[in-house]
């Protein structure tokens, strides 16, 4: 019994474990219900490709939400940076080498994203506009700018495939996955970049001064301030970082599609936010999980294709998505952070307001308070 307890406690300490378990269960269910699809490599390669941009966005958003802020403007940055990239590449590639042009275009796109983020940061940290308002306005504004600049038209990146930047960022690595069937199956490199970014950002959040500042600000900005953290500067850096990351996702998306759409990124807002929350990042701020966001993004990204592949009607997709999201968030809340023991206690109190939780305590009238 004691061994079991310490084992459970050990499990509770593993970051993102509940979401990882949900993800594995989900895949197992899909393998059972749709073996034709889920016992082959192709569907997984497809996930690796499609999940990369929202995952990258989710990683950045994890920081923003951990800091107790929100950024609604990242879909617009995906479009705006995609435009900047496409315009720059088409302009430069006429004169110079394609790879160099792509590299310059990438740099400009990241810069553009950083600029959008920086302006968000200034509005939030210096002017004092609540981030939900500032970034909502930014979302409309930058989509507007993109549509105007692009003249409402999509633009193709015809020669992009010929250059090294495309190969490195959104190419395919062949020869690793055994493939007895016809056709070649390669691992999309953007998935590796997303993974690398996840590892890097995990260290920034959990092992770097910046990440610690973000957590304390999200926890309580007054504490952060009196402990000598420059709250305003950190917030500006945070939004700038989110802008750059969103621009990176935008470039990856544009390169993969080889076409820029002025509306690209639309529809990503809610799935990306859902992935972050599924992963256990607290909407109240102060606590964020990069590992959770990683698996959360894959859960969200594999649901639609998975449900459709099982053969049940496409009308079920949203319902199943809702159930899985709900279950993940409930699991996270119930388990708390790193304490599986709480679960049994909570279950015993099922439906009965608990005294041990600060929230219910406040909600109760004083006579029940003690």
């Amino acid at each position: 019994m004691k061994k079991l307890r310490s084992f459970i406690r050990f499990l509770g300490k593993i970051e993102g474990l509940p979401v990882a378990v949900v993800f594995v269960l989900l895949i197992v269910v899909f393998i059972i219900t749709a073996p034709d699809v889920f016992l082959k490599w192709r569907i997984y390669m497809s996930f690796l490709q499609t999940v990369a941009p929202p995952l990258i966005l989710g990683l950045g958003l994890t920081f923003v939400i951990t800091a107790g802020e929100i950024d609604l403007s990242f879909p617009a940055v995906v479009a705006f940076s995609g435009y900047v990239f496409t315009w720059a590449f088409r302009t430069f590639s006429e004169g110079i080498d394609g790879s160099l042009a792509a590299l310059l275009a990438l740099g400009l796109a990241l810069l553009a994203g950083g600029m959008v983020g920086y302006i968000n940061g200034i509005l939030v940290a210096r002017v004092g506009v609540p981030s939900i308002m500032a970034t909502l306005a930014a979302q409309f504004f930058w989509y507007g700018v993109t549509v105007l600049l692009a003249g409402g038209l999509q633009a193709a990146l015809k020669t992009i495939e010929e250059n090294a930047v495309h190969q490195i960022l959104t190419g395919r690595i062949y020869g690793i996955i055994p493939n007895p069937e016809r056709g070649r199956i390669g691992i999309p490199t953007q998935a590796l970049w997303a993974l690398a970014l996840a590892v890097f950002l995990w260290f920034i959040l959990n092992r770097h001064k910046f990440g610690e500042a973000v957590m304390f600000i999200g926890d309580n900005p007054n504490v952060a301030r009196v402990m000598g953290i420059n709250v305003e500067a950190t917030r500006i850096q945070l939004f700038t970082m989110m802008g750059v990351i969103a621009a990176f996702a935008g470039v990856i998306l544009t390169m993969e599609m080889r076409v820029f759409y002025p509306t690209q990124g639309q529809g990503m807002l809610l799935p990306v936010m859902a992935a972050v929350f599924i992963g256990g990042t607290s909407i109240a701020g102060g606590v964020g999980s990069i590992v959770g966001t990683f698996f959360g993004s894959y859960i969200i990204g594999s649901l639609e294709a998975g449900v459709v592949a099982t053969g049940i009607s496409g009308f079920w997709v949203q319902l199943v998505q809702g159930v899985v999201m709900g279950a993940s968030v409930v699991l996270n809340t119930v388990l708390g952070r790193g304490d599986l023991m709480v679960l049994s206690e909570r279950l015993r109190h099922w439906g009965v307001p608990m005294r041990s939780s600060g929230f219910t305590q406040e909600a109760l009238p004083p006579e029940h308070g003690d």
């Binding site: 007054n222 009196v226 402990m227 000598g228």
Partner: protein, 260 residues
Amino acid sequence: MREESVPYALRMINIEKYFGPVHALSNINLEVGRNEIVGLIGDNGAGKSTLVKILTGVYRPTSGDLYIAGRKVDWRTYNVQRAHEYGIETVYQDKSLGEKQALWRNFFIGRQITRRFGFINVKEEKRIAQEVMLSTIGFRGKGITVDSTVSKLSGGERQGVAIGRAMYFEAELIVLDEPTVALSLKEVRKVINFVHRIKEGGKACIYISHAIQDVYEVADRFVVLDRGEIVGDLRKENVSLKDVDEFLLSYAHGLKDRRE
């Protein structure tokens, strides 16, 4: 030696603070000895918090001088970090610790032990935090480790962590800003014990409170603040708890209204 040549941990000379037309502090002259515990007492709105915020680099005074361990403070560059460098640490009633963060993080927040590129040396931070928990403040809470989040600690324990942190960073002067508000009697007892450790450690302390009962036991001297002015400076040898209490009450009831 520095200790002998400069008998004061802190000296404020003619500090004035206006917030627009509001005269928040007027003509504040206050000294705190190197190993002295001063109880700063005053009702709500007396200017205690303003005084502390000036001292700790959050506000800048309108005029006046501040000497810390004999060094004159340059207001233009004085801020929270600088105050830390000068050895002034503050323990606030409720905003000293990040509740959802691990103890070791709270210990080093704002001045982390870092490796290259600003990455935190987690192992070292945990080791030191552990050591301070056990030795400096005698922390023996059951099931509480440096990895526990602050939310698992009681109110008194939280103040203990904040005081322990201040002592570890070799604070010459620890400012306790109403550390026992909203604590149960048992928890207040813990905090009082932590304050005794400050005295034993040879450091100075300003203990701010609106209730004399909290500070009487630990303080060597009581400074009474009323409507932005220092109206009383009483040494403990010369007064009983009752005397101080009556003195305070006379102000609270406006019996000694200085501004007729």
